[in-house]
């Protein structure tokens, strides 16, 4: 039945290729995904204008970044997934090598070694690994029968853990967390048996105290501050206290665009970057928050649909991981801003001001579009 079903699908889709969706399909654009992304980014700019408080050039720079990232997304969408699959092992080795180079020769910015200066451009290899690591794990499972065996779990875990450790060493806990999540999502979607999942959770609980011992002081401080923000009202706790005040004082409808006192009187730190959600919550209230989360949900549902319709193991695992990582991004950022999680430097995807994450995120959606629009032409 299922085979028949998918066969029929293939037929109707190949029909539609010639008739209904000819334009979008040929452009390799997923219209629904593109539209919801554009609405989200537009809404984000709206908030940014207020959060930036008319800071000179901020809007322009964000627009340029959006332009470049969207262009990158469309280019990436044109390339069939089989080419990505071919390139993955090389990309992975290259990425890991770059991470090692960052640790050895990288530039120090803000107390951490994250940047690699290639004379022409400076970039963070860790950012690229958010895409390459799930690709590599998906690639591995595309060569193995599913559900996975114990050996598969070990090998794929090693694939994830090496770059994660390299990034955590920089130290960039937020990115390490996201890379780990993106890799583990593939593992989970590939059918990681529940007994391993439970085993991992138990191991994590045991490892937590050990982790505490190896954490940097500032990381420990963040955790302690989360538990009791009032303990350090001038230092680390200040962010969380002010952010909660901003959110809470927004109420149901918010104080109105440009009327957020917390952000405009500069009580709120990092208000155009990591804490931009608090500005939105202050100025547009619970209603604004629900609208934003609905937009995010729309994107996630569409992306999940694409992943479910993907025909190869590689593409569906990759698409699934990109989708879920996007979700985790949102959850960690909002959880952090509203005082549920410790402060880790993770931006609100496609809304926060700032370069690298926007590009990586949209490249990810470009891959999703490629998977979605090259479906009929792919055979595993």
């Amino acid at each position: 039945m299922a085979i028949l079903h998918s066969g029929r699908n293939r037929e109707t889709n190949s029909n539609s290729l010639q008739k209904r969706a000819s334009l979008w399909q040929r452009l390799h654009i997923d219209p629904l995904l593109l539209l919801s992304l554009l609405i989200l980014m537009g809404a984000g700019l709206f908030v940014l204008v207020s959060a930036g408080n008319q800071a000179a050039g901020m809007l322009d720079r964000q627009l340029i970044r959006f332009g470049v990232a969207l262009l990158g997304m469309l280019v990436v969408a044109q390339i069939p997934p089989r080419y990505y699959k071919m390139a993955v092992p090389v990309l992975f080795l290259l990425g890991t090598l770059l991470l090692v180079m960052v640790l050895m020769f990288g530039d120090v910015g803000g107390g951490a070694q994250r940047w690699l200066d290639l004379k022409i451009i400076r970039f963070q290899p860790s950012e690229i690994m958010k895409l390459v690591v799930p690709m590599m794990v998906a690639y591995y499972f595309s060569k193995r029968p599913l559900p996975c065996t114990f050996k598969d779990v070990i090998i794929s875990s090693v694939i994830v853990i090496i770059p994660v450790l390299l990034v955590a060493k920089q130290p960039d806990l937020g990115t390490a967390l996201l890379i780990a999540a993106s890799g583990l999502f593939v593992l989970f979607l590939a059918g990681l048996p529940w007994r391993y999942i439970i085993g991992m959770l138990v191991a994590a609980m045991i490892a937590a105290p050990a982790l505490w011992l190896v954490m940097h002081n500032y990381q420990k401080k963040r955790v302690l501050t989360l538990l009791n923000p009032e303990s350090d009202p001038l230092g680390a706790g200040y962010h969380i206290i002010q952010s909660k005040i901003a959110i809470g004082s927004g109420g149901l409808w918010g104080k109105g665009w440009f009327k957020g006192t917390q952000s405009h009187l500069e009580f709120l730190p990092e208000r155009s970057t990591d804490f931009i959600f608090a500005v939105l919550a202050e100025e547009f209230g619970l209603v604004g928050v629900i609208v934003l989360l609905s937009l995010y949900s729309l994107i996630i549902l569409r992306a999940a649909t694409i992943s479910m319709q993907a025909q190869s193991t590689f593409t569906r695992l990759l698409a699934g991981s990109i989708t879920l990582t996007f979700g985790i991004y949102i959850i960690i950022n909002i959880g952090m801003v509203s005082g549920l999680f410790p402060v880790v430097g993770i931006p609100l995807p496609l809304v926060s001001y700032g370069g690298t994450s926007i590009v990586t995120l949209l490249l990810g959606f470009g891959i999703l579009m490629s998977i979605s629009t090259h479906r009929q032409l792919v055979s595993d």
Partner: protein, 607 residues
């Protein structure tokens, strides 16, 4: 395909869709949790957070610590803090800052300098913190502002403390002064520690001991209304006042020194030779440091800096003069020590010295000379230049350099007053490096009487004098005797021993006896000082400002006042058990040794 297995596509797809579906549902559930969290913050706790945000902004206000006081050795107050009123503006509360400033200007007047200070201070304040606009306003001005406060939102009259130096200029070159923090200092201080502080030590002890004097900032948690007015204080973390300092200086001796230097340019430094405690340190003329506390106006500042007598110049630690004949005992000690001469060695003095193969005459200060047979003792007592020319040539520049360096010339003494200079001990290497010229034998000849490139500060000469008094035991001079810790305990500044000079040398007696005879023998250059119940050992010197051409005679009456010779005196007393060592420099006139003696009298006899 190198892997040979058959994919169960149907099962795999089904499995994947189940897991992906579950995951997406989980993400959506977490989104709902986030919305629930927002509901809790924005609806349930709305009142609380709205109050916090709109009505009661919690502010942390810094409280400046009181600056440590400075006392003399007997506890007489030298640097005080006086209560004053100042006008502060909270820029966020002023509806229109420019208008407000214009109105304040109209009511009580603002200078350009106050405006630029205000703009600078504004930049380093946090929001809702007052920025000082005018300090030290009068009660009338404070009243004017208070009456008009309804027109001046954000303008507050704030009580504070301001540095005051009750003794004024007498201690100006020891204490230095405090002033408003400038851009450059802003880069060097810890902004958190200085958030409420307006003044910082600029020179002297105020600067050297800034870390002790400043104290620790306090913090006050307050609830403020929308306009930033404090509604109530939630908690206070009290500031810790800076440490009080006790100087080694005796105010009476210092005042006496000031009086002795009236109408005179120069410096006096007196040290207790056994522990390095500075008994008096005076540079004259001086200035009123209180002018600088509130920010000196341009006119007064120009008057001070433009004054030809340079009252701002700390001659005691920054004035660099040729040490002249005052280094003779040190060079003599080296010559005896190295066996270049002995106490019997004598030469005839025709009134000049000539290097072989040269016609240039190095003249003695007595043109007809000191007679047929001058030995080292006579050369010191009568300050015979010819003997030293001859001896200097014989011993060479390296021996001369070595001896004065052992007494600390050429490098700062390390006294705890900011800004000390190091003087210069010339050497062939130094000349090669700075002037790219070789060392000439003639330069050795004039170096042997402390002239030429040779320069030293009064501080260094006093230190040298103390070392002569203690027969080579050297201790670091210091002006702070003790620091009062916050618990009330006194931390005494310990005597810091330096490497000794010519320790245990058998020639000390010769040198000390000669220095005593400078005052107490019939031929001594300072024999007119011998009318006192205790004995003095010393050495006079005359530093040339203007070099007399070959073949001419120095005649003070025909030389312009500023080009006349400086007189220098070093010495210690009582000669057999010294408790005070001194260096006095009087610019462009005689009298250094007399002033030195009067300081001794004041210290030893209480006159």
């Amino acid at each position: 395909m190198k892997h040979h297995f058959i994919r169960n596509i149907r099962r795999e797809t089904k499995h994947y869709r189940w897991r992906m579906g579950a995951s997406v549902c989980f993400v959506i559930v977490l989104f709902l949790v986030l919305i629930a969290r927002m509901y809790y913050l924005q609806i349930v706790q709305y009142e609380k957070y709205n109050t916090l945000s709109e009505k009661n902004r919690v502010a942390v206000l810094p409280i400046a610590p009181n600056r440590g006081l400075i006392f003399d050795r007997n506890g007489v107050l030298l640097a005080d803090n006086l209560p004053t009123f100042a006008i502060h503006i909270v820029p966020e509360q002023a509806e229109n800052l420019d208008e407000t400033l214009a109105l304040v200007d109209k009511l009580i007047g603002l200078s350009e300098r106050q405006m630029t200070n205000f703009e600078r201070e504004k930049k380093r304040r946090r929001r809702y913190e007052g920025v000082p606009l005018r300090l030290n306003i009068s009660e009338d001005e404070a009243a004017t502002i208070a009456v008009n406060s309804y027109r001046l939102p954000g303008v507050n009259v704030v009580g504070g403390l301001m540095r005051y130096y009750p003794e004024g200029e007498v201690f100006a070159h020891i204490l230095g002064y405090v002033g408003r923090i400038n851009e450059q200092e802003l880069q060097q201080i810890d902004p958190a520690r200085y958030r409420a502080t307006q003044f910082i030590g600029k020179t002297g002890v105020e600067r050297y001991y800034e870390n002790y004097l400043h104290g620790d900032i306090g913090l006050e948690n307050v609830e403020t209304d929308v306009r930033g007015r404090v509604l109530r204080v939630l908690s206070i973390d009290e500031p810790v006042a800076g440490n009080n300092l006790y100087l080694t200086i005796d105010i009476n001796l210092q005042k006496k020194a000031e009086k002795l230097m009236e109408n005179t340019r120069g410096a006096i430094v007196a040290i207790d030779p056994h522990n390095g405690a500075i008994l008096t340190l005076l540079s004259h003329p001086n200035f009123d440091p209180n002018l600088f506390v509130q920010g000196i106006d341009h006119e007064s500042y120009d008057n001070l800096t433009g004054d030809i007598d340079q009252p701002m110049f700390n001659r005691a630690i920054r004035g660099q003069y040729p040490p002249a004949s005052t280094v003779k005992p040190v060079i003599a000690l080296q010559a005896l020590h190295k066996g270049i001469i002995n106490t019997q060695t004598s030469i005839p003095d025709p009134g000049y010295f000539k290097l072989p193969n040269s016609t240039h005459l190095y003249r003695d200060w007595i043109s007809e000379g000191h007679g047929g047979s001058v030995n080292i003792t006579r050369a010191l007592i009568e300050s015979c230049d010819t003997f030293f020319y001859w001896m200097g040539d014989k011993m060479g520049i390296r021996n001369i350099t070595e001896s004065v360096v052992a007494f600390g010339l050429g490098s700062p003494t390390g006294v705890d007053i900011s800004g000390e200079l190091s003087g210069l001990v010339p050497s062939p290497e130094w000349k090669r490096a700075t002037k790219n010229e070789p060392w000439y034998p003639g330069e050795t000849v004039i170096a042997s009487i402390g002239q030429g490139f040779f320069i030293a500060t009064p501080m260094q000469l006093a230190h040298m004098s103390a070392t002569l008094a203690t027969r080579g035991k050297r201790v670091k001079p210091h002006v702070v005797a003790a620091i009062e810790l916050s618990n009330g305990d006194m931390m005494e500044i310990e005597t810091e021993e330096l490497p000794p000079a010519f320790k245990g040398s058998q020639h000390w007696n010769t040198i000390q006896e000669s220095m005593k005879s400078v005052i107490h023998s019939s031929r001594g250059t300072a024999r007119f000082l011998s009318d006192n119940p205790y004995k003095i050992a010393g050495k006079t010197g005359t530093a040339q400002v203007f070099s007399v051409p070959q073949g001419e005679k120095y005649d003070a009456s025909v030389i312009e006042e500023r080009l006349r010779d400086h007189s220098i005196f070093i010495g210690y007393a009582p000669a057999d058990n010294p408790t005070i060592a001194i260096a006095v420099i009087v610019e462009n006139k005689n009298g250094a040794s007399r002033i030195g003696k009067q300081v001794f009298d004041a210290y030893l006899l209480g006159e």
